[in-house]
C-alpha cells in the first residue's frame, strides 16, 4: 500500500503546483498592464463577483472597471483557449500515439479559419448575431470539417486507423489552407483584419466570447476526461486496447469529436494559436508522466496558465502595441520545445 501512497503524493504535488501556477498566472495577468491593479484589489473584485458581495469602498472604480470589463474576461478567455487546446492536444497525442501531434492535425483549425476568414472577407453580419457572426460561423465551419474528415476517413478505412486519420487531416488541412490563401490573395481592405485574426488574439472579446467557448470547453473536456483510461489503453495501440477490453471504435470517435469541438471553439474565439496544444501536453507528460487520468486535468491547468502569461507578454512587451498572441506562443514555445527535445535526446 505504500506504493499507492507514494503515487497519491506524487499527483497531489502535481495538482498543487499546477493550480498554484494557474492562480499566479491569472493574478499576474490581471494585475499587469498599462494600468497596474494591486493583487489585493483583484481578489476583492473577483470575490465580490463570485459571492455577490458589494465591493469594498477602498477599491477604485476605474480598477473595478478595468478588472471586470477588460482584464478579467480577456485573461479568462486566454485561459479557456489555452486549456481547450492543451487538453485536446494531450488527447490527440495519446490517441495518435504521437507525442508530436497537435490539435490542428485533423484540419479542424483550418476549417474554423476558413469560416472566420470568409466571414471577414465577405463582410457577413447576420442581424441577430451581430458581432458573434464570426465565432458562430467559425464554429459551424469547424464542426462541418470534423464531420467531413471523419466521414472521409471512415469511407477510406472502416476501422479508422491512426494512419488514415493523420493522412485525412493532412489532406483537409492543405485543401482548406489553399482556400485561406486564395481569400488572402483576393482581399485588399480586410487584409490587416484577416491576418490579425489568423495570428490569433484574445483582446477585445468581452464576456460574450467566454459565453461561447465555455459550453464547448465543458462538454469537450468532460468527454475527454471520461475517456482517460481508454486513452491510456489506446496509446499502446488500438489492437492492444481492444484486447484490454476497450470499445476502440466508439471511444476513438468520442475522443476525436471531443478534441475537435474543443479545438474548433478555441480557434473560433481567438484564431489559430499555435504551439500551446503541442508544447503544454508534452511538457506535462515530461513532468508528471503519461497517465491520461492525470495528464488531461494537469494539461488544462497548465495550458490555461501558459496562455494567460503569453497573452500578458503579447500586450506588454512593446506596449502600447499589441502583438498577436500566436507569435508569442511560437516565439516562446519553439525554443522551449527545442530545449526539451535536446535534453530528452541527450538523456537517452
Amino acid at each position: 500500500m505504500s506504493t499507492l501512497n507514494f503515487l497519491k503524493n506524487k499527483y497531489l504535488t502535481a495538482y498543487a503546483l499546477a493550480v498554484a501556477f494557474l492562480l499566479a498566472s491569472m493574478l499576474t495577468a490581471i494585475s499587469v498592464g498599462s494600468v497596474s491593479v494591486p493583487v489585493s484589489d483583484i481578489v476583492k473584485i473577483i470575490g465580490a463577483h463570485v459571492f455577490r458581495l458589494p465591493i469594498a469602498d477602498q477599491v477604485e472604480t476605474t480598477n473595478v472597471n478595468i478588472v471586470s470589463q477588460i482584464r478579467l474576461p480577456r485573461v479568462l478567455l486566454a485561459g479557456f483557449v489555452g486549456a481547450s487546446l492543451a487538453i485536446a492536444g494531450a488527447a490527440f497525442q495519446g490517441l495518435l500515439r504521437n507525442p508530436l501531434a497537435d490539435p490542428y492535425i485533423l484540419g479542424v483549425s483550418s476549417g474554423a479559419s476558413v469560416g472566420a476568414v470568409a466571414t471577414l472577407f465577405l463582410n457577413i453580419s447576420i442581424p441577430f448575431l451581430g458581432l458573434y457572426t464570426l465565432p458562430v460561423f467559425s464554429i459551424a465551419a469547424a464542426l462541418l470539417t470534423i464531420l467531413l474528415v471523419l466521414f472521409f476517413a471512415r469511407r477510406v478505412d472502416r476501422t479508422m486507423r491512426v494512419e488514415t486519420i493523420i493522412l485525412t487531416g493532412i489532406i483537409f488541412s492543405s485543401f482548406l489552407g489553399a482556400f485561406i490563401s486564395l481569400i488572402i490573395a483576393l482581399t485588399s481592405d480586410q487584409l490587416q483584419q484577416i491576418m490579425g485574426w489568423l495570428l490569433g488574439s484574445v483582446s477585445m472579446r468581452g464576456w460574450n466570447y467566454i459565453g461561447i467557448i465555455v459550453p464547448f470547453f465543458v462538454i469537450g473536456s468532460l468527454l475527454l476526461l471520461m475517456n482517460a483510461r481508454e486513452l491510456n489503453a489506446m496509446s499502446f495501440g488500438e489492437e492492444r486496447a481492444q484486447h484490454l477490453g476497450v470499445d476502440v471504435e466508439k471511444r476513438k470517435l468520442m475522443v476525436l469529436v471531443a478534441g475537435s469541438i474543443l479545438t474548433g471553439a478555441a480557434v473560433a474565439v481567438s484564431g489559430a494559436i499555435g504551439f500551446v496544444g503541442l508544447v503544454i501536453p508534452h511538457l506535462a507528460r515530461r513532468l508528471w508522466g503519461p497517465d491520461h487520468v492525470h495528464l488531461l486535468p494537469l494539461s488544462i491547468l497548465t495550458g490555461a496558465g501558459f496562455l494567460m502569461l503569453t497573452d500578458l507578454v503579447s500586450r506588454t512587451i512593446i506596449s502600447p502595441q499589441i502583438l498577436p498572441i500566436g507569435v508569442i506562443t511560437a516565439l516562446i514555445g519553439a525554443p522551449v520545445f527545442a530545449l526539451i527535445l535536446m535534453k530528452q535526446r541527450r538523456r537517452s
Binding site: 506504493t3 507525442p99 483510461r229 491510456n232 499502446f236 489492437e239 484486447h243 477490453g245 470499445d247
Partner: protein
Amino acid sequence: MLKLENVSGGYGGEPVIQDISFSVAQGNFFGILGPNGSGKTTLLKMISGLIPNSSGSIQLNNRNIDLFSRKALAQKMAVLPQLTAHAFSYTVRETVALGRYAHHEGFFQTWTSDDERVLQTVMEQTNITGFQHQTIQELSGGEQQRVFLAQALAQEPDLLLLDEPTNHLDLAYQKDLLDLLKKGTKHDGLIVVSIFHDLNLASLYCDRLLLLEKGKERAIHSPDGVLKEHLIQDVYKTNVRKYPHPVVAKPQMHLLPDALEMHNKPIKIDSSMLSVKTDRIALTSPIPLRTLSSGVCGAGIGWNNQFVNRHVPDDYYCADPADEMQAYLETNGFDVSRTVGMMTAVDLKNVAHSHSENKGVSLFTVVTAGTENATDSARPVAQTLAQGTINIWLFVNGCLTDQAFIQAIMTATEAKAQALKELDIHDKWTGTIATGTSTDSILVAATQQGRSVPYAGAATELGQLIGQSVFTETKKAIINDQGK
C-alpha cells in the same frame, strides 16, 4: 474451453481461413504452426475477435465470442502481443494496471484492494515487482515482454492468445517466458493458444499442434503426430530431419542447409591419415565424421574429425581420467570439442590396421589389443581392472543410417569375440573363453557421403567388410601384443 467449429473468414473477398475446427480444454497449451502467409495471425485475430469469421462458430466457455461485449471478452481472454516500440514512457506499474480495465465499471472507476492484490500477484509471477516504478522504455526486450505478460495476466483470463511470443527474445528469455506460460496452464488451468515460428519450441511446450497450410488444416495432433519429416517438408517446402530431443520425450526438427561444403569434396579415410607414435595413434580427417563411440572423451553420438588412441603406462591411475585426457589432448594441440579420445596400455607399435572395399563402400579398420584383462561377458565376475584393452576404430567411407551405425557395432563386437575364441583366450577368473576385455572401446565413424548404407548387419556388404577386418586385425593385434 475454446471451441472452433468449421471456422472460415478473413479480410473480405477470398476467405484466408477455411473450415478450421479444433477445441482446447482447460490447462492445455495449443500451438499453431504454418509457413508465412498460411493464415496463422488471421486465425488468431478471429479468435480474439478483431476480425469477424464469415462462417462457423468460435465459442469460449460454450458461448459465442461475438455475443460477448469487448469488456466481458477481455475478462475471459487476454492477448500477448509481439514486442513493439511504445511512444510514451508509462511506468511498469501503470502498464500492468491497465490490465484491470476490463474489470472496472462506470466512468470514474476506483482502484480496489482486489485490483491491487491481482496487480501484486502477477508482478511477482512475472518477476517484475523490482522495477515497477521504472518506465517500460528503460527495460530490455525480455523484461518488456514480461511486463506485457503481466498486463495480460492481470485481466485474469481463462484463455491467453500469443502471436510468436518469443520473437526478438534471446534464448534464456524464450525459455523463461514459455516456462511461465506452461506453469500457468498446469497450475491455474489457463488455456494457452500460441503461434510459433520455431517448430522445436512448439514441440517442447505444446500439448497439441495445428499445422496450417494456405488457411486450411493440414494436421492437428500431438507434436509427434505433426512434426513428421514428410509433412513438414511438404508444408514448409524445405528439407528437415526429425530427431528426438536428448532429454525431453519430444521430437525436434533439424534444418538441412543446401550449401553443405562436405558435398563439394569427396573424402576417403585411409591409412595415409593415420599417424602412429609411441604415445598415441591419431587419425585426423579433413571433414567432420559422424561418430558413434565409447571412449574417455568425445564419446556418444556426434561429429568429430580427430581420433586419438593414447598410450598410458601400466600403472596409470587418475581419479578423473576424462579431465586428465582433455588436458592431454589440449596440450598436444587437439580440439577437444571435435575429438574422440581413448586410452590403452598396450604397446602402440603393435597396432593392426587394414583397408577393405566392397561395391562402393570402403572401410578402414584400426585395432590395438591387449588381453591380460580378458573377460567372458556371459559370466561376469567382479574383478579389479588390470591393464589390457581392445580398442577398435572403424572408418566407413559411406553414408550410414543410425541403424547401420548400431549394426556396425554389433557386427564388430561379434567378430572380436570370434577372434578371441580362435586365439583361445580365456577369462582368467572363470576359465571360460573370453569375449573381450572389461575396458574395450569402439568407434564407428562415417564420412556420410558417397553410397548410402542403410544396414550393416553381418550379411550386408559393409557388414561383411566389418566382420572380416575386425576378425583379422584383432587377431593380428593380439598376436603382435603377445609376441612382445
